[in-house]
Symmetry: C2
Subunit: 329 residues, 2 copies
């Protein structure tokens, strides 16, 4: 199944089912008002949502309309919890090498993960308001999952069974604020403004073989101002989503609607490019001694689309512009 959240007067928008080819949509609000509601009542709503999805794909759904990603909020415009890992170790190792920092202890055996803000997610075409161009504005292309309830202490296999939906994420970052926040030990905070999502959340079965071992094995195509930036594949994720969820649930249960992110998708092959500017810069530092690529400016756009072998984009496309935030009153 494929889902989107249409913007509405309500802060959590309105649930829509989207056709497999993303051409059409139909309001699903009579089954579940919002996607969060659907995830929380999954066992009750799965069958009627599936029936609606099937009828939409067959062209027989009453009241269907053309699907417009620009009308979409994030699939979850807000939720109870957002936890983001750094599960592509290639990315972390490049960062360490460039900055000559002390290796993170147990980096190969214990995932690193930060708690993000889940109160205000951005939609796939929303402008991205930020306070200051000098903060090192960067994108981070990621995959993620939305979970059902996970008990404390669930192992990776049990945790993986709680994956309800897959999502595609742009985890905006302000690189100039990161190092100080890492040094405090309290972790990322101001350096992680509101996170953006591709328009469509999908059940894992939609990916066929490309969802395997708890990984999204798709190329994540990234363009910055229309120019190719990278197309790393999710297959190289060093921890599975099952392992990441289990890590998050080690000392507490997770509520339904928890979003778990992979961290920046990153491949060992240089030909795959990068899914964030910081990684390209560290490669420049390693190769040439200094970074050449600057961070984003106001007005810049980023475009991200995961594609399968047939060229389909199962999550739709993120296409956003960074802008100066309006002054607070």
């Amino acid at each position: 199944m494929k889902f989107a959240t249409l913007k509405s007067a309500a802060p959590d928008g309105r649930l829509a089912v989207v056709s497999r080819d993303l051409s059409r949509a139909v309001d699903a609000g009579s089954i579940a008002a919002t996607l969060l509601d659907a995830v929380e009542r999954w066992d009750d709503v799965q069958a009627p949502l599936r029936a609606l999805y099937d009828s939409l794909n067959e062209g027989s759904a009453e009241g269907s309309f053309p699907f417009d990603p620009a009308a979409c909020a994030a699939p979850l415009p807000r939720t109870w919890q957002w936890c983001d890992a750094s599960a592509f170790l290639n990315h972390g190792r490049l960062m360490e090498r460039a900055f000559n920092t002390e290796p993170i202890p147990d980096f190969d055996t214990i995932p690193v993960m930060y708690q993000g803000a889940s109160d205000d997610f951005l939609g796939p075409r929303d402008d991205v308001p930020l306070p200051d161009e000098s903060l090192g504005i960067d994108f981070e292309g990621e995959f993620g999952v939305i979970t059902g309830p996970v008990p404390m202490g669930a192992d990776a296999a049990a945790a993986l069974r709680q994956v309800r939906l897959l999502v595609q994420i742009n985890d905006w970052s302000l690189r100039k604020l990161g190092p100080r926040e890492m040094k405090t030990g309290f972790g990322f905070f101001q350096c992680k403004p509101s996170t953006s999502f591709a328009p469509v959340a999908i059940t894992p079965d939609e990916l066929g073989d490309a969802w395997h071992d708890g990984r999204v094995k798709l190329d994540l195509h990234v363009q910055w101002n229309g120019a190719w930036f990278g197309n790393p594949n999710g297959a190289e994720m060093n921890y599975s989503f099952g392992q990441l969820i289990a890590h998050a649930a080690r000392t507490r249960r997770l509520s339904a609607g928890t979003v778990i992110g992979s961290g920046t998708v990153s491949n060992e092959s240089r030909a795959a490019g990068s899914a964030c500017i910081a990684e390209r810069r560290v490669i420049e530092i390693i190769d040439d001694g200094a970074p050449r690529t600057e961070f984003m400016r106001f007005g810049d756009r980023v475009w991200m689309e995961a594609r399968d072998g047939a060229g389909n984009a199962p999550f739709g496309t993120i296409d956003q512009r960074v802008v100066l935030a309006p002054a607070a009153d």
Copy 2:
């Protein structure tokens, strides 16, 4: 006004208004179903809630009943965001001195704050399930605020005007997991299990002069297994809640229902004791070279109650027991 959330079949419970002396309560669900709903529609619901509160205090509220803290969830059983600072610098400086760690840069001028998990808060009498007694189980007595919407870039004065409610918090911590997580730079995660709250959230006017300069100037009395542990006062907070909210909103807006915590209440005077075991242990390290006090064991209880000069406890009392979490299926 004073509010509590009564446990119910709904995950967010049911809103109740509580009398000033915490003796009686009345269902407020017809005005706002939940406290989160009330905070999100504050301008619309404030007047009818105030009228109900007044009638309850006058003894004329229909359907009122004795207030039972044991029937309460956390005032917000879950919310969109929980940000916890470390705003009593005395605490941080003691920690640095004991462990001889590098001082946090700009500790005196920029608050440190971590993003916590807001998906599963515990009520004032709930057992606290944890997976392992050897993880260094500790309490942290804190004050906190619940905000309305805060625009990105709000200054401290504007931010303070968005304080809707004050709360009293026990920020449970697993000390053995903290140092590794701090070293990764990604910050606290597994070392911060579900957070607990005193039963009653109050509007700032309820404190009279004890709410001043964006600080809760009350003694926070803490007992561990019935023995005095500390009674530090909130007046020594080095950053005001206005400053803490503004820090959180520097690079993104905050949604209504955001909870901002003060961090462990800590006073320079040794006579005030401590609001967490870690602080007592670092004092023992500084004084005697080694800690004598162990962390909590399963079955141990912690009791916390903020008191005004007349001995009233405006937030009610936290009284909880730590227990072994049931095995995950």
